[in-house]
Structure formats: structure tokens, C-alpha cells
Symmetry: C2
Subunit: 333 residues, 2 copies
Amino acid sequence: MSKVTVFGAGAWGSTMAQVLSDAGNEVLLWGRSEDVIAEINTSHTNTKYLGAHTLPHALTATTDLQQAFDFSETYVLAIPAQQLRTTLQEWKPFFKPTSTIVSTLKGIEISTQMRMTEVIEDVLGSHKIAIITGPNLADELVLRQPAGAVAAAPTTELAETIRDLFRTPYYRVYTSVDVMGCELSGAIKSVIALAVGISIGMGYGENTQAMLITRGLNEVARLCAAHGSDPLSAAGLAGMGDLVASCGSPLSRNRTFGEVVGRTGSMAKAREEVAKTVEGVASAGAVVEIAHRVGVEVPVIEAVGEIVSEQLSPEAALQKLMEITTKAENFIR
Amino acid sequence: MSKVTVFGAGAWGSTMAQVLSDAGNEVLLWGRSEDVIAEINTSHTNTKYLGAHTLPHALTATTDLQQAFDFSETYVLAIPAQQLRTTLQEWKPFFKPTSTIVSTLKGIEISTQMRMTEVIEDVLGSHKIAIITGPNLADELVLRQPAGAVAAAPTTELAETIRDLFRTPYYRVYTSVDVMGCELSGAIKSVIALAVGISIGMGYGENTQAMLITRGLNEVARLCAAHGSDPLSAAGLAGMGDLVASCGSPLSRNRTFGEVVGRTGSMAKAREEVAKTVEGVASAGAVVEIAHRVGVEVPVIEAVGEIVSEQLSPEAALQKLMEITTKAENFIR
């Protein structure tokens, strides 16, 4: 039995805390909101984020940062991706040199084009840093529906430690030593999910979606390869798995936003209808830059970039995409 | 401009004939039914299979087998997979040694566990044989919605010839020299789609589906590798693409059948509700045998085999699947 602290008491952090508790760990959940934390401790619910769902009674919560860091040496981060840097800068004095940091965040830091573990290392210096990622929608995982995930770390030993920490009868955790490939796949999938949403909004069906998903993941794989990571991570749970789950869920913000763009042809209307931050919109430009930096052709991702930056209409972008010469279908070359 | 004969005037054959006509070829469509063929020639519709859709006026049709074979030297087969052998045995005298045969069939011949091009070669002997496959639901492709496909042949030259024959502004055709991998991927996808349907019937959401799709394709990739074909074909349009389209379509027979099994736990009820042949049910046993012959572990496919043969309930099969030890997430090793 290990002790683990989860930072972030939203839907995702609370779900991760439940998984870790179900896996037999002693878990402390840290959150900013006094109300949310008090409710978790007293009635074992988090109605703001998880409705009537009852969390494990063994799970305790706190707003006290010192207590959270003192509780364990394993810190699971479930805070918003674009707030990671400023949050860690603020928390830096609390981290111990021996602590293990597990990122559950998906995204690219827009201003620096860094992956989440790069931001962690940039702010905190060298630590044992791992990630857990995959097709894990919080609202299904919290109901303990069967799901798979990947624990990735620089060493097999650390990846297996993280796998053992999280795995439960309903949560199958595989291991990987390709942190970069898993992170790139998880971040870029939001851009492809946006493309799929746009095609749905334009009135197209499964054939078009499947083409965008498959050729989009092909681009992710080539991007991974160009960065020296394993292109097959894109074909695993972090890439294909996560993308399929995002595209299948009508609740996915990327898909929903894309649908409005495809239907109306207007980014302004989409911003109006989907008021929240949409990761694929925010990061499309950064991903195109990442691709250009290593000289990889990414026509699906570029099409999204051109739609999002209002250089092309969805129709014009799709037509441009369909006109590109087709060659051999190679996943990684 | 090439001349092409398409054999099979159902929804799929008629759609393929339209694509070939749109691509600028002179196309003759052969079918058994006098009524269907007469209707295509006079009113350019095929109401039995394609509703009110109007086919290209340039497209002509015939029931005359001699005329069909004399018309061209490129024969596109769009007949039912399990009838391929007996049909070809009957047609054998018509084939010329110089003719090119393009299979659009997906499936494994149950009695022999042969792939479709193996059956063709077994009956007709050596010919120029190619396939075209991918996420192409007929009802969407016939509306000219954007779609991708793979033309696979033993040589790049033949694959490119087939690509050039089929490609249109709405149909992106990639090439591959991995006929076996593309055929195995296209055949086995129906078994995985059945698994996904079962999970939906059991009440599970996107996480569970994405896990089954990703890990199922991992099994397909390993099966391909064990047969000496390219495991990455499973990550392409023939594998991932086709599977995603099948799982996304509520009209997919594999998915629909699986949903009834998952919901009721009864194969008999599913057979009652879905009266037609379901490829994934028919071929699950054959695919398990193919896997065992080469010593590849295929837990998702085996779970489907055990449910279909009524050895395990969906609940028991899923539980067994979730209990298997997770190791490194490798796509092909």
C-alpha cells in the first residue's frame, strides 16, 4: 500500500483519486475550493464535478498545500495544462528531490511548444517524472467502466511502479518507455478530433471520419518518428485509443466545437456556442509549428490550422486536402 | 480511359461501378437480376439497393456473363465472400490469362481459412490479382462523401495502376504492396467490431470501446507480423480505418449483432433480431484458429470466439480479458 497525493479536485483529479484508492493506495486529494474539499470529506461526494456519485470513503481531501506535499512522495498532477507552469513555479519550494511526479495532463504549452513533462522538468529540475494517459473519459472511468491506459516513464522500472500504483480490475494499465511519443500523441489528438468534428458538421459520415482519424494518426506517427520517439505510440492507447474515444464522445469539446465550425463555417459562432477553452483550437498552431520545425508534412493538421486561423473555409481546406497526391500508405516513413 | 467490368450489382458493386465511372473509365456492371440490370440501363437507378440515388448515365449493365468478360480485361469482384469459390469455379472458363482481377471482398473463407485472393488464386491459378479496401460504407461512398482507401498488389506497379483506375476527387486511394496484411486486417476487423458492439450492449461507453479497438488492432498487427506481412497495415486504412468506420456506424451488422448479444447475453436472441449473415460471427472461430496456428496471443479475438460459441457469457469473457497481466504496450512485438 502506497501513499499518493492527487493535485486537482475537478472531475478528472477526483476520478484519478478514486482509481488510486480502488487500487489499494492511501490517497489524499488536494483542491483549492474549501466547499468542494469539505463536501468530499463529509459526504464523500463532489456534486460540482461528479453529480451524485459517491467517492470511496477512504479517500480524504485537503486545501492545505503543506499537508498535501507532506502526506506522500508521489504527486499526481490533475490541474489545467495551460496553468501548469505558473502553478509549479508557485509550488516549487514544496517539492522534495526524492519525489515522484506523475502527469495526467494532455496538451502542449502554447507559448513554448513544450510537452507537459518538459514544463515540469523546466520548472522543477530533474525528478522521477512519469505520465499516465489513454482513452479515459472521466465520466465513464468514475463509474468503473472497463478502460485501458499507458503508464510511460524514462525507465521500465518507473513505468511498472506507476502501472502497479494505478491498476485495478477495471483499469488495465500497460507500460511504455516512450514518454515523448505518448505525450505528443495525447496532445495532437485534440487537433485531429477537431478535424473529425468539422467533417461531421459538414454533413459527412463514418468514411470521412475514418479517413481523417487514420491519416491524422499517420501524421502523429511521423511527427513522433521525426522527434526520435516511437511512432508506434501513435497506434497505441495514448494515440489511436484516446482519439477514438474523443471522436466517439458527443461530450468531447474538440468534437463539439468542430461540429459548429463545420456546420456554420464560422469560428466566431463556434466560440459563442462553446464558451470554454478548446485544446485543439488552442494548440493547432503550435502543433503545425512543431511539425514545420522538423520538416514533417502534416496536411490534416495544417488544414485544421488554416480553418482555426480563418485562412480557409472548411470546404476549401477539405478540397485542398483531397487534392494532395496519394502515395504508398506508410505508417512511419 | 480504361474499360472495367464490375461483377455484382448490389449496393457495393453498384457503388464501385459509380466510382470507376466517375474516375473516367468505361464501366460495365454485371448482375444476376434481370430487373435490377434493366432498371440501371433504363432509369439509371438501383432502387432495390440504393433507393432513389441516380447512377452515372454512362454506366451500363448486363446479365450476360460472356458479354461482361468480353467487355474488358479488368474484372472487379463485388460478390459475397462466402460464395467466391463456387462462383469462380463456375466462371473459370471465362477468365483470360492476361486479365487483372481486383477483389473488393472482405472476409476469410470459413472452410479453408483462406483469404479472398488466396481463394482466387486457388481456383483460377496465377493472375494479376489486387485488392481495394478501406473504410468505405457503400451508402456514404455512393453519395460521393470524401473517403480514403488502399489499393494493394504484389508489385508497386500494379498497386499504382489500380489506384489510378479508382481515384476521383472524393476517393483518395493510397497504395500498398502488403496484400496479406491488408486482407487480414479487413477480415479480422469484423470480429473486433463485434466485440465493440457487445461492450456497447453491456452498457459501456467510449473508454471500453477505445480499449477494445486499440488492443484488438494490436492483435491484428501481431497476427500480420506472425504471417510475415506488414503489421503496420493494421494501423492503416485497411485496419484501423475500416474498424473505426464499422464501429461508428449504427448500420454495421457486426456492431448491431454484438449489441444484442451484450444486452441480452443470448446468441439465439441476436440471431433472431439480426437475421442476416454476420461476418464477425461467421469468422471468429476461423480467426482464432489462424492465430493459434502461428502461436499468437489474441485475447480480444478469443473472447469473441468464446462468446459466439456460447462457452462464456459476455460478462465472464470481459472479466477474463480484464484479468490478463498487462505488459509493455508494443504494437508489433
